[in-house]
């Protein structure tokens, strides 16, 4: 995707600030401002909003169109399960660190089902935050994640991890379902 440009009067072009100020970013930056001050007063809201506008203009980011259906209840379940996963896996990694037996690892390829970039990013982040696995390579073209997994003794254990990663993707998809995109549908047909 090429960046939007606006031509100047003399014919040269500059990157466009079009839609640099996005409402979501404004609200978020104002909330961060108030959290940093630890207070909510009208003065802080106004100064936070002004600062947010300045930040958006100085560091413009392209708008991200997520195109998702969010299921709040399933998202809550996803978060709960995620925290449990972190707790369990932390204890396991602590066990690996403290035991005497040397550790064996694996680099496992996980082919994700969906073609959504947002799902790829989300699943990769969650897998990365759960102890014992780190994403060493991500392929956007084939939607494949390559993860380095701690404490894998044999092929069967690697397969078990792959199943866990795919289950994580299914939970993520249940919470954030991408809507079919007319542009890509037409492109693949």
């Amino acid at each position: 995707m090429s960046p939007k440009v606006t031509p100047r009067r003399d014919g040269s072009v500059k990157p466009s600030r079009y839609r640099a100020v996005q409402p979501g970013a404004l609200v978020w930056l104002t909330l961060v401002w108030m959290a940093l001050w630890g207070d909510v007063t009208p003065m802080l809201v106004v100064s936070g909003l002004l600062l947010a506008v300045v930040v958006c203009l100085v560091f413009p980011l392209p708008p991200v169109e997520l195109n998702l259906t969010v299921h709040p209840w399933r998202a809550l379940l996803l978060t709960g399960r995620f925290l449990i996963d972190i707790a369990v896996a932390s204890v396991q990694v602590a066990g690996v660190v403290l035991r005497r037996r040397p550790v064996r690892n694996a680099v496992v390829a996980v082919d994700l089902e969906t073609t959504s970039d947002f799902v790829l990013t989300g699943v990769a982040s969650m897998l990365s935050l759960v102890p014992g696995s780190v994403v060493v390579e991500a392929r956007r073209s084939t939607h494949t994640l390559y993860l380095h997994v701690l404490d894998v003794d044999d092929e069967a254990a690697a397969d078990r991890f792959r199943a866990r990663a795919l289950a994580q993707e299914q939970r993520f998809l249940a919470a954030f379902t991408p809507r079919p995109d007319p542009a890509t549908e037409a492109g693949t047909a």
Binding site: V103, N105, A106, P131, V135, A138, A158
Partner: protein, 123 residues
């Protein structure tokens, strides 16, 4: 009755802080004990996630100050957001630079893929 809510919160806070510090200590031990860079990254970045979470929960319980909750929440969000990217970048760079003990890998599904492809700049 001496066992009221503030005491209970204090005890819970102390437990969270101690447990969080324990996980941070395990992370430090892991950095020394584990054999190669990627294994050490698991130890250094991951028990630190739960250690940080527990310390933040402990702080929230002991401070009991609504004004500090916002900044503690920000700490958690920023830590989780940045450790993912940092972990991935370090892991990716180390794998590509050959800083991997292949003798420790049971399964390696990436090395063949990487050796097949043409070198290029962007992923």
């Amino acid at each position: 009755m001496s066992w009221d809510w503030t005491t209970a919160a204090d005890v819970l806070a102390a437990a969270c802080l101690l447990l969080g510090s324990f996980f941070a200590l395990v992370a430090a031990i892991g950095v020394v004990r584990l054999p190669d860079l990627l294994s050490r990254m698991h130890a250094a970045t991951k028990p630190q996630v739960i250690g940080m979470l527990l310390v933040v929960v402990g702080l929230a319980l002991s401070l009991r100050d609504p004004a500090s909750l916002g900044i503690l929440g920000l700490v958690v969000l920023m830590q989780m957001g940045t450790s993912v990217v940092a972990g991935h970048m370090v892991g990716r760079a180390s794998f590509r630079a050959g800083q991997v003990r292949h003798d420790l890998l049971v399964v390696d599904e990436l090395s063949d893929v990487l050796s097949d492809e043409e070198p290029r700049g962007a992923p």
